[in-house]
Amino acid sequence: MIKRLLKSVREYKTPTIWTLILILMEAVIETFIPFITARLVNNIQAQVAIAEVIKTGVLLIIMAVLSLLCGGGAAFTSAHASAGFAKNLRHDMFQKIQTFDFENIDKFSSSSLVTRMTTDVTNVQMSFMMITRIALRSPLMLIFSIIMAYIMGGILASAFVIAIPVLGIGLFKIAQKAMPAFRRVFKKYDRMNESIEENVRAMRVVKGFSREEYEKEKFGVAAQDICTDFTKAERLVALNMPLMQLCVNFNSVFILYIGSKLVINRMGGIGIGQISAMLTYGMQILMSLMMLSMIYVMLTMSAESAKRISEVLEETPSLSEPNNPITSVADGSVEFKDVSFKYSKNAKLFALSDINLKIASGMTIGIIGGTGSSKSSLVQLIPRLYDTTEGSVLVGGKDVREYDIETLRNAVSMVLQKNLLFSGTIKENLKWGNENATDEEIKEACKIAAADEFVEQFPDKYETKIEQGGTNVSGGQRQRLCIARALLKKPKILILDDSTSAVDTKTDAKIRKGLKEYLPETTKIIIAQRVASVEDADMIIVMDNGRISETGTHQQLIESSEIYREIYEQQTSGGGSDE
């Protein structure tokens, strides 16, 4: 998992390595500083010439400047490397998601992908920075400090023999115990926040049923529960400080007492300077241990984020590109041969079964059926948004799996049921269909889709800005723009999946008339809830429960299909304007 993520470091390997080198140098210098300081103190004590004292002082200042250069340099390289790493991670995820097929997209919810690309990446970025800056530094400092302490302090250093393991093991144990406790409580915390969000969103329901008190009580229980768990976990971590203090205190007492004995008895070649340095080293060693335990905690915390990122990076699309892809589509004919389909291998129920269907190029096909009758599933197989589970789908006489995917999808233009416009101008949105479309082509497509009339009403016409999600145009207008966008592809097959539901019947009829006139060669497949939208199709397919219940023209179906008749009667008696 970590390996997978580290692949994204790429061009930021150099600053990463520089960070490590600079940190290494900084750590070395920093451990030498108390050593030189001790010499300085000893110099003073030994009453050597003032010139000598100043010489040592200058040496120290040079070291401090070097340390500053290294530390400051590392500050920049590590920030550069980690921000770059984060950029690459986001880039890689985004790129990966672009290769997702519909099955992958269905698997991750869009909000979870957003979190993975923002919060999770930021977490990993912070950890990466921390690790490069501290993870190397702390053990280095620890080792250097121990070595220096032994060199300088000799027997005095034995103080650490007790303090280091006590603190090390203690901190590790605390972290080990606290971590699962925190993980549990964070999960609960997330759940609580979800339920707050639920409450906020459902405020009309809460107030409508006068459930304010009930909600307060429910929340109170959850909040108290979390408080108890959180406190438990925090109290564990709160042991860190006293433990650290205990070890530091023990150290200084030991060093002071034994140190003075050694100095006075002139044993071990120890002077006052060494005592002072040993106190500093002691502090450094124990601080490094503290840092290490912090890193340990941080790493495990961000491991969750890392896992969620690598899940995206490791997802493999199940649609495979053919070896020798066909790069042109002959015509708009479509054929389903014994097609069965389910959304995932593990699904029990087939969304489609036993579909056999032949559509000649240029035909207009209507598809009708209740919710859950798999109308959308059927047409999604044509541009190969999903692969069939059994059987094959042929476009232009060739299996869709033999085509280059881009070729196929450019020939099969589909307006999805959940259609969207993106932020940008109307023109920019329409150009999704064809990047090189001229203004005339755009206008013509809009005329066919009955969009030109209202676009021209806008003050900025085709330069009108669409807000995110296309919220500043009405549902009907959005649908018409989406149809125009699909038309600009000049497709061989055009699929409208319930794409005129918010358009009034008159305009709907106008669009259908336009399609017929301007795109006689194009195969038109129209899914609709309204019988009126498919009435005049060359062939109407009635879907029921994932199967083709019947096919025929309007007149034939009125006579033969009970389902069709039922829908027709319900709508004609119930009014023409549907959802």
Binding site: G72, S276, G372, R409, G469
Partner: protein, 632 residues
């Protein structure tokens, strides 16, 4: 959200005050322990100096046993101080954990409780994301403030003051030198700090932009695939991504460099102190100190070195907390702002009670659930009258505006007799939903009167008014829990059987029993695991179990396809039977059989009558019905 305002000093006062009010004993104890234990941390320096003085004194003769007689008592005092300080550190850390979490829990509860009482207007004018951010981000900054910033500041402050005192005690010269160094250090860190703050704000902005873009692309991923637009999307994203990287890199570079800068200025200061100390000692400069000890000994020089480290280290800590404090105060301000929102006012005094009606039609109040309800209406002269709840609603000349100067409803007058079905049709923004918002007093009318069973609804206690109105909205909000729990939300003491009956009544039982665990199926994420239409059916069952005399169905069946709706229709009809029902629907098939249909346009009722009458009129309704007109 991201712009850093100057923290209001009142906010910090209020946080502290709140802490005191939640923990009037524990919090002061904690503070005292922090201060004492931190002060104790300064004491060892005195001992180090003392020990070194002892070594100096006895070192020349090498008389260990002589030194011991002086050393041991000093060490014992040191150990005692250490032990006391250690206990205090232990206790205050534990207390702090308790206080922090307790404080957060209480704040959350206060916020949540306060929020339940806020008027709907608040939720209509605030984004859910922003409200949520108060519960998550802002509360989190408070956690940081209380558990880390406050103790750190107290600790560092205490140490700095004590060490400063000790320094003055030993040598004023040396203290002055250190002071100059520290001032320089603070100046530099302020520079670097403001640089990092600037870029952090930029980073937040770029992050927001990237998030917006990602969100849009992830939502439109299928469309991207259909149009083979992957490369363009990637290209666009790379630009935004690069900007984010740049800002993030700069922000962190500044923030990262703060540590090494302060530390190494500290190192240089250390050298200066050592050299100065050495010079003072070697040159035998006369010492000026609060201790009036004129001899500048080696011990003083060494002690000062240690104190330099302590002093700068703690200042560094303080400076690192500043960012956290600024952020926490901004967060606290938003938390308090939410808590300070004015709750929904309720001057209603007419309440809804269970009633028994005798043969003569006299109404008496009872504690038992009789299924018969009455309005209990106390009057100014102390008398009580009871009016049977029957569900008659009248609106008389009602005007309303959400924002001043932008009227939404004009002169709405209508009568809904008990058991009638009243429908509203019209384009989005015509004011249909607004009428229902007024009926249950989510909003209060500007002019005119709404009467319920002859009582002005302003006199009715809001909770009782709402209890008597069942409401099903287009956005069916279900709660995490089982299907059964969700239906029971309508009537908390309903038995399983009542809930199932309600589901059967509205035609939801059929699909519920086919769910993997039937009524015990857990609905998660606002019911993402069931279809929108099924969610609407559960919401209708939820309203049905409450068995209210008046129902409001606001696009309640919009997501159920016409075929299923026809099946559900029977259940809906039986649900509506005997109740006054207000129906808002897009689909004319839903409203066709209403007793009266109100066609609304721009806040006015432009046509009214039943289906046949309206068709005969050949007006707007006719146009809609024949599909000549687009509703949106």
């Amino acid at each position: 959200m991201n712009n850093r305002r100057k923290p209001n000093p009142h906010t910090i006062k209020r946080v502290i005050k709140t802490l005191f009010s939640f923990y009037p004993v524990l919090f002061p104890i904690t503070i005292a322990f922090i201060l004492i234990s931190s002060a104790a941390a300064a004491v060892p320096d005195i001992f180090i100096k003392k020990v070194i003085a002892i070594i100096e004194k006895w070192g020349e003769t090498g008389n260990w046993s002589g030194a011991k007689t002086e050393l041991v008592p000093a060490m014992i005092t040191l150990v005692t101080i250490y032990v006391v300080a250690l206990i205090m550190v232990y206790v205050y850390n534990q207390l702090m954990a308790v206080i922090t979490q307790g404080f957060l829990a209480k704040m959350r509860q206060k916020m949540f409780d306060g929020m339940q009482n806020l008027p709907i207007r608040y939720f209509d004018t605030h984004k859910t994301g922003d409200i949520m951010s108060t519960y998550t981000n802002d509360i989190d900054t408070l956690r940081q403030l209380i558990s880390q910033a406050i103790p750190s500041l107290l600790r560092a402050g205490a140490v700095v003051v004590c060490v400063f005192g000790v320094m003055l005690y030993y040598s004023i010269w040396m203290t002055l030198i250190l002071l100059v160094g520290v001032l320089f250090m603070m100046f530099v860190s302020k520079k670097a700090g403001s640089g990092s703050a600037k870029y952090f704000i930029k980073q937040q902005k770029s992050l927001g932009r990237a998030e917006g873009f990602i969100q849009e692309m992830m939502n439109g991923q299928k469309i991207i695939k259909v149009f083979c637009h992957e490369n363009q999307a990637e290209h666009e994203f790379d630009e935004i991504n690069e900007k984010l990287r740049d800002d993030s890199s700069r922000a962190h570079a500044y923030a990262n460099s703060l540590g090494p800068i302060i530390m190494n200025i500290g190192n240089v200061l250390y050298v200066i102190m050592a050299v100065m100390g050495g010079l003072f000692y070697l040159l035998g400069i006369r010492n000026i100190a609060l201790s009036f000890n004129p001899v500048f000994s080696l011990a003083i020089a060494v002690t000062f070195l240690n104190m330099t480290k302590q002093f700068t280290g703690n200042l560094n800590q303080c400076s690192q907390q500043i960012n956290a404090i600024v952020m926490a105060l901004a967060g606290a301000e938003r938390v308090f702002a939410l808590m300070d929102e004015l709750p929904e006012t309720d001057d209603g005094y007419v309440t809804l009670v269970n009633a028994v009606i005798d043969d003569k039609g006299n109404i008496t109040e009872t504690d038992k659930r009789t299924g018969v309800w009455a309005w209990k209406h106390p009057h100014g002269d102390g008398t009580l009258t009871y009016t049977r709840l029957s569900g008659e609603v009248t609106l008389n000349g009602v005007d309303f505006e959400y924002e001043e100067g932008k009227p939404v409803l004009h002169d709405i007058t209508l009568y809904a007799k008990t058991g009638q079905k009243v429908a509203f049709v019209g384009a989005t923004g015509a004011g249909k939903t607004t009428i229902t918002n007024l009926l249950n007093r989510f909003y209060d009318i500007a002019d005119g009167k709404i009467r319920y069973d002859g009582i002005n609804i302003n006199k009715i206690k809001k909770s009782d008014l709402r209890r008597s109105l069942g409401i099903v909205l287009q956005d069916t909000n279900l709660f995490t829990g089982t299907v059964m729990d969700n239906i029971r939300y309508g009537k908390l003491d309903a038995t399983d059987e009542e809930c199932i009956n309600a589901a059967k009544l509205v035609g939801a039982d059929d699909f519920i029993t086919r769910l993997p665990s039937g009524y015990e199926t857990v609905i998660a994420n606002n019911g993402a695991n069931i279809s929108q239409g099924q969610r609407q059916l559960i919401a209708i069952a939820r309203a049905a179990v409450a068995d209210p005399p008046v129902m409001i169905l606001d696009e309640a069946t919009s997501s159920i396809d016409t075929r299923t709706e026809a099946i559900v229709q029977k259940g809906m009809d039986s649900l509506m039977k005997g109740r006054t029902v207000f129906v808002i629907a897009h689909r004319l098939s839903t409203v066709k059989n209403s007793d009266v249909i109100m066609v609304m346009e721009q806040g006015r009722i432009i046509e009214r009558g039943n289906h046949e009458e309206l068709i005969a009129k050949k007006g707007k309704y006719y146009q809609l019905y024949t599909g000549a007109f687009e509703l949106e």
